[in-house]
Structure formats: structure tokens, C-alpha cells
């Protein structure tokens, strides 16, 4: 069943189908929230928040064949709320407790582990590399991080990211360029800088 059909049936009264819709998109939203927050508990909270908002506002959704993007926009807002709440509650900005504890074990690369991971990918060092990448992502400002996630993990084009994040295309380009540079500097510290 297509998303639109599912949503239509939910609106028409088959409320139990909402579970099926949630089931279909749970992983997508959970992954986004995890990349954005870097914390399993926070990702779970934001995912839950996203689906409850979807439930509340489902009747305002207009079908344009972009339900996933619509849902990601809600998830993005949920993550923004989470960070705002964290700041208000005086929780340190890097509320990534689980990662922070492993950060000492796997610090942000001072050696070129990432380069070797690219040349010789293996399941053994995948966990280590994953944590390093997540730490590098966590170091990015919130708005740059969401741009990077949508671009590299979800494969959205810059124009689509502009629509999802609600900023002009030029802003997306600037954020993407700055974030990519920062990520490269963090993940490949020993490589020469690219000549523009």
C-alpha cells in the first residue's frame, strides 16, 4: 500500500493503520535522530516526539509524494527542540554521554585511521571508525550537521535540503561547504588541503 493510501485510510477512520505507518518509517527517523544527537536515548526520545507530532498534524499533510521529506522535517524540528531544551536545562551541549565515555578510548582521529578505514574496510575497525565519525559529526554546529546528514546519508539534493530545513539554497550551499571542510579537517588531518 502506498503512503498516500495509508494516510488517507487513517484519516478516514482506520486509526490502527498509524502503527503500520510508524513501522515503515521508524528506522529512517531513528537513524536521522541518532546522527543528529549522537545519543541512543535522545534518538529514541526524538523519534517518539516525531511520531506523536505526525499523529497530531496528520490531517494538515498535503500529498505531494514527499512524505519522507515531510517526516524528516518534523524529526529535524524535534531534534532542534531537544537541543534547545538541553541548553535550557543546562545540560552540557555535547549531551552525548555514551559517546563521550568512548571518546577517550577512541579520540577524534589524530592518526589517519579514517584513511586506512577507507583503504582497508573491515568489520573489526568499523565500530571504532563509526564512533570517530559520529564524534566528528557531533563537533559540527547543529545546522551544519543536519545539512550534512541529509546530503550524505539520505542523498537529498541541495534544493530539497533547502525545502526541508526551510532556508534559502545559498545558505544550504554555504553550510554544506563549511561542514564538509570541517569534517575533512577532522577525519583526514594529515591530508593536504584541497586546492579550490
Amino acid at each position: 500500500m502506498q503512503d498516500y493510501e495509508l494516510i488517507k485510510r487513517i484519516r478516514q477512520g482506520e486509526r490502527a493503520l498509524f502503527g503500520e505507518l510508524a513501522e515503515r518509517y521508524y528506522d529512517v527517523i531513528y537513524c536521522y535522530c541518532y546522527y543528529q544527537t549522537g545519543n541512543e536515548q535522545a534518538a529514541w526520545d526524538c523519534t517518539q516526539e516525531t511520531f506523536y507530532h505526525l499523529m497530531r498534524f496528520l490531517d494538515t499533510y498535503t500529498e505531494k509524494g514527499k512524505f519522507k521529506a515531510y517526516l524528516l522535517r518534523i524529526a529535524l524540528n524535534a531534534c532542534r527542540d531537544y537541543f534547545r531544551q538541553s541548553k535550557n536545562d543546562n545540560i552540557p551541549y555535547d549531551a552525548f554521554a555514551e559517546i563521550s565515555t568512548t571518546e577517550d578510548k577512541y579520540p577524534v582521529p589524530k592518526t589517519d585511521i579514517c584513511s586506512s578505514a577507507l583503504q582497508h574496510p573491515s568489520p573489526e575497525n568499523q565500530v571504532e571508525t563509526g564512533i570517530m565519525i559520529q564524534n566528528a559529526l557531533n563537533q559540527l554546529p547543529e545546522f551544519q550537521r543536519e545539512t550534512i546528514i541529509l546530503f550524505y546519508y539520505y542523498g537529498y539534493k541541495q534544493r530539497e535540503i533547502a525545502k526541508i530545513t526551510g532556508v534559502p539554497l545559498s545558505t544550504v550551499k554555504t553550510r554544506l561547504r563549511a561542514a564538509t571542510e570541517k569534517l575533512r579537517d577532522t577525519l583526514f588531518p594529515s591530508e593536504e588541503r584541497r586546492i579550490p
Binding site: G19, Y34, Y52, F57, L58, I133, T180, R184
Partner: protein, 263 residues
């Protein structure tokens, strides 16, 4: 060695793909999905409506005074035309345009009064769409009233260009002007201010009608008809353009309070 941007992007993408999030706890996941299904059962969603249903719903919220005002305008006009004095019909026609514009604006300006825009935003109404519905409905009725008046006027011996000059042109121009003012002023829009604009603009229009009569004496009916027809078409386009401008503006971002409404 100089590296290309495409290779850099590919390299970064390949590396980022190695960051695989931990699998979500399946028990927690199932529990959330069950809870969502149960909570969704209590939700009361608005039924999706067709355009005509939306129009009818919008109409049901109009004040009875609006309908009464339409009826009174029509009645007055019919009385004026039946008096067999065409000169008197012109003055009734001149009153018809500001009367209809006033009805249109009175309904539209309710959206801005008493912070209604805020209420509508909170209640998840789409303000531009609401404008579109109201404009479509009232404009439709206005055009109906105008068509009826024209037929009556024509039967009484009036010409089309006379009707356009006294009723259509001032109606389109006045309405377009007021719609643009509403768009520009937003929630600062004041009904009394709009009424003053209408009276002033109508007072300015009366000398113009005399000018057209002089024009008609000099060039004849055919040329005058063509000129008035062209002016009416332009005025109609101006009116439609203003209506589109009003219906496409985003008001939420212009509240000046920096408040962003969810989604």
C-alpha cells in the same frame, strides 16, 4: 597531488557510510508502535474536503449581515433602474461598486481583526487558503450580482460601456487597491481606514466618468466602448493579481515577534 571535488565527496560519503547507528531496541520499538496505534485511535481528524465543500463551509461562517447587504444592494439597484430615468440609474451604479467592495473587505478584514490571524495560525488554519476561499466565494457572488445588474440595466436601455464605466471599473480598481493595502498592512489593517479609502477613491472616480462622457461626445460610442473595454480588462487583471498577491503571502513569518509556528 591536486584532488577533484567529486572524488573528495565520494571519499567522504564512503567514509560516512561506515557510521552505522546502533540497532534500536526492538522491544522499545514495538512498544512505541503499539502505543502509537492505541493513541491514534483517540484522534479526531478533520475529514478531507473538496474545494466546493470548503467554499460552502466558508460561506456558513459569513455574517447574516453580509447576505443582507448583498440583498439590499441588489434591491436598491433594481428600484433605481425601474424609475425609468437612466441618469438616476447611473448614480445607483456608482454606489454599487463601493457597496460591493465594502462587503468584500468587511468579510476579509475580519481575518485580521482581534488577532484572528494568530488564532487561525494556532488552530492550524492556513491563512492564505482562508483568504482564497473567502475571496472566491465573495467575488463569485459579486460577479453574479454584477451580471444580474448588467442584464437589468441593459433591458432599461443602458450600454455595456456605461455599465463598465460606472460599476465594473470602479469595483475592480477599488477592490484591487484595498486588497493591496490589506496585504501590505496585514494585521494593522483597519476597517475605518479602508472605508475612508473607498469613499476617497470613489470621489476621485466621479470626475473621471465626466471625462469619459466628453470623450464619447468627441469620438463616438464605438471608440469609447473599445477604450472602456480595454480599461476594464486591465482593471480585472489588476484585481486578480491583487487577489493572488493576498492569497500567496505568508503571514506567519511577518508577525514581528520572531515566533515560529510548528511545521
Amino acid at each position: 597531488m591536486k584532488r577533484s571535488k567529486k572524488n573528495d565527496d565520494e571519499q567522504l560519503k564512503t567514509l560516512l557510510q561506515q557510521n552505522i547507528p546502533p540497532k534500536p531496541d526492538s522491544q522499545k520499538r514495538q512498544m512505541l508502535i503499539r502505543k502509537l496505534s492505541a493513541d491514534a485511535a483517540d484522534m479526531d481528524y478533520l475529514e478531507p474536503e473538496s474545494f466546493s465543500e470548503k467554499i460552502l463551509t466558508t460561506g456558513s461562517y459569513f455574517s447574516p449581515w453580509t447576505w443582507l447587504a448583498f440583498a439590499v444592494s441588489l434591491g436598491l439597484f433594481l428600484c433605481g433602474v425601474k424609475s425609468e430615468n437612466l441618469a438616476q440609474a447611473y448614480s445607483y451604479l456608482l454606489c454599487l461598486a463601493p457597496g460591493l467592495t465594502l462587503i468584500l473587505l468587511s468579510e476579509l478584514s475580519k481575518t485580521f481583526g482581534h488577532n484572528m490571524w494568530e488564532m487561525e495560525a494556532v488552530c492550524r488554519y492556513n491563512l492564505p487558503r482562508l483568504f482564497l476561499m473567502r475571496l472566491t466565494l465573495i467575488s463569485g457572488i459579486d460577479f453574479g450580482v454584477m451580471a444580474f445588474c448588467f442584464v437589468t440595466f441593459h433591458r432599461a436601455g443602458g450600454l455595456f460601456w456605461e455599465f463598465a464605466l460606472y460599476a465594473l471599473l470602479p469595483f475592480f480598481l477599488l477592490s484591487a487597491l484595498c486588497l493591496l493595502l490589506m496585504r501590505h498592512l496585514g494585521n494593522r489593517c483597519n476597517r475605518m481606514g479602508l472605508l475612508a479609502v473607498i469613499i476617497f477613491a470613489e470621489a476621485v472616480w466621479v470626475p473621471f466618468t465626466d471625462a469619459f462622457w466628453r470623450f464619447q461626445h468627441r469620438f463616438g460610442n464605438d471608440v469609447t466602448e473599445k477604450v472602456v473595454l480595454c480599461a476594464t480588462v486591465l482593471a480585472l487583471l489588476f484585481y486578480l493579481g491583487s487577489a493572488v498577491a493576498l492569497c500567496t503571502k505568508k503571514y506567519y513569518g511577518n508577525t514581528g515577534k520572531g515566533k515560529i509556528i510548528w511545521n
